[in-house]
Symmetry: C2
Subunit: 425 residues, 2 copies
């Protein structure tokens, strides 16, 4: 029954039931955590063979001794792998250390403070740079902007990606909008896959934006499918070639959620000219990334077929956890207490509570021993204007923990919703 259909007396009775159920959870002394998008131990163990895989052979395909210094942009086989994974040419790839977030941070910093194209091209020389942020989105993207002092402007997400009419209007109107964050496949946290039309329109933004506009295309979940027949994200760089906007995109990915979250390999894909400027800066900062770890990964994952086979094993482990999230949320169906997404990949589900209740629900859950991502984290500056979005991250805990945490969560949603309704009557 819809929340709105209850009488006050019914609501009060319902509140009592829910409060009792909630109190029972509180007494159970739970300690559950569905906070962060981290792989679980069983997933990590899928890649334990990374250790020992080199068998004394430290030579890359081109004869490079990966143990020694050198090679600012990675070994050739890792470049080929990254190019295939991100949908760019091998000449458009840089292979980095263990963190694609670092590559993103450094590239935004390069563009802002130093200039993507060298002296005279820095955003800061034109004024105060701004970024578009589809919301809900990824808190660490927002932190990059906040840390560098880049103003963030939110844009609503739709089922096909960011609302492109709004994006285009904003970008056309203000040349100081210098970039946009995107998680194009299984968007963090809401799980949308950008449609072909959205990808094409994003690729064309460079034609209407101010100079040195950059789409930060964080393709973190490009192969992180739960289903055997997953949705296909169309290639951003292919579209850019059509529009002549290869300079306007910076594509990233990593093996963090493929092999070891903290010990993987990161990739950046962008135009050769963009890479030239980035590598010039990197050359002042390092003698090169850890090539041993790159070779280790290439020996283990081999190629796209090897990668896909490996990702099937991840799906087998985490799909049941995603499924139980949906099964438990189903208890809210038809109750008018919120809506949620059912992503078929990535690391999150997203729940929109009734406006004004996200913080309250997160607090209720915490007080019953279930840690959730802080309400607001999916918005720039931590401020969800409607206080409704909650990110659910089911991969790290075990199946039973996710199940139990979601039961508590659903109770908290119901309790908060009923109480809100009562006080509104």
């Amino acid at each position: 029954m819809e929340l709105n259909a209850y009488s006050k007396e019914e609501l009060l009775a319902l509140e009592q039931d829910l409060a009792q159920r909630y109190a029972d959870y509180q007494q159970a002394g739970l300690k559950l955590d569905i906070t962060r998008g981290k792989p679980g131990a069983e997933q990590l163990a899928l890649s334990d063979a990374l250790d020992g895989i080199l068998g004394g052979d430290y030579k890359a395909d081109n004869g490079t001794d990966v143990r020694n210094y050198g090679g600012i942009d990675g070994i050739p086989e890792a470049k080929a792998f990254g190019a295939a994974m991100l949908g760019v040419k091998q000449e458009e790839i840089l292979v980095g250390g263990n963190s694609s977030l670092t590559l993103m941070y450094q590239y935004v910093e390069l563009c802002y403070l130093r200039g993507a194209k060298g002296a005279g091209s820095a955003w800061k020389d034109e004024g105060a740079a701004k970024f578009l942020c589809p919301v809900p989105g990824y808190d660490r993207h927002f932190t990059v902007c906040e840390d560098l002092g880049i103003e963030m402007i939110t844009v609503p997400m739709t089922a096909t990606g960011p609302d492109m009419d709004t994006v285009e209007a904003l970008v056309k109107a203000d040349p100081m909008i210098k970039g946009m964050w995107c998680v194009p496949k299984y968007s963090n946290p809401s799980g949308e896959v950008y449609s072909d039309d959205t990808v094409d329109r994003i690729a064309a933004l460079g034609q209407i934006a101010g100079q040195h506009f950059r789409v930060m295309w964080d393709n973190a979940y490009t192969v992180h499918d739960l289903d055997e027949q997953p949705p296909v994200l169309s290639g951003l760089m292919d579209a850019c070639r059509k529009h002549g906007t290869e300079d306007n995109v910076f594509i990233t990915g990593s093996t963090s959620k493929i092999t070891f979250a903290g010990g993987g390999v990161s990739f950046a894909g962008t135009s050769e000219d963009n890479l030239k400027h980035l590598k010039k800066w990197f050359s002042a900062m390092t003698i090169g990334p850890n090539k041993v770890n790159q070779l280790r990964h290439m020996r283990f994952l081999k190629d796209m077929d090897g990668l896909r086979a490996h990702m099937r094993k991840h799906a087998e482990i985490i799909a049941p956890k995603f499924d139980v999230v949906q099964q438990r949320l189903a208890a809210l169906t038809g109750k008018g207490m919120g809506s949620w997404t059912n992503p078929r990949g990535g690391y999150f589900a997203s729940f929109d509570a009734l406006p004004g209740l996200a913080k309250e629900i997160v607090k209720l859950a915490a007080d019953a021993g279930v840690k959730l991502t802080p309400a607001g984290a999916t918005f720039p500056y931590g401020k969800d204007p409607e206080d409704k979005n909650i990110r659910i991250a089911p991969t790290f805990p075990g199946y039973d923990e996710v199940d139990q945490a979601m039961q508590v969560f659903v109770t908290c949603v119901e309790l908060a919703s009923v109480r809100q309704r009562i006080s509104a009557l």
Copy 2:
């Protein structure tokens, strides 16, 4: 016999002999390279057991699963190791990725652009920052300053370290001198070990320098001894505690020339408060360094005893190469054609030719198939004012190559010196 003691006729005859010997080398089609301070393959192989050493146990001492995300400053056992290696407390250590150069770059950038102590403490807010650079020195330190736009002021090296009277006078006179580069043990390239008095005076600089002055103490060769009874560098941080200047130093080191040059672990040691500000910035940029590689290294090196035993194996491989450098240079003894150092550790020897001849000697050697570090590289902006210093890096090539390269080098020194003398007569 001294060059100055020859008559013109004798010099002309000598020149003919040397030119003939040089022409023979040219005809031999040599291809030798004593350019960079890279370990040789035999050294790298000492650490091949790093691969496979984890044996399925990915838990750090404190129970952390090193495969997963997290830990901005490293695992506890790596911190303890780094603290012992750099002579600081465990709370004063940050363990990074594979490059201590990156830590140095980032720290100088932090101090210059953002402020070592947060908002309001950036060097740039006070004006144009300057750095003291003992010369000859390390080209990649100079590149950091050049890249960030920090002016470099040279200070002469002495047998006991930088000329401290000059350093103190400069630092006292100009509060915009915000830092100094130091390679305190087996200085790159000349091999000096800073004396106890020098270390103490450097630790005291914070008392007379402008605010937020930082000594960049690149202790790259702290355990890289050739002899069984090596010189002992006194502890900078110990001296800083005496002077209350813990904030004024940033100490770095790595396992790059201990295990794998491109795949090691880096360490930074500085005051806890400095670290707090650095970690805050890093938190916007990364979810943490590669902890798997840190654990790998700790299982392999274990502790300071393990480290020292490992370094003895390096010494056995490279000491003969350093010795043959000295044996070949000995042919120049008493000839008045230059002077050289005989370091008992580190990665380099340094040769001072007669003024005005370094470029010529490097060119002669190149034309005979022997690549040397470009003349000038050991000075800021690549400009050796006397054009005399040449860095010799004997570790990467095999023993015979070093031997042959040094014979060619000596001939080039003689030929250039004799020709200069002739044209001066």
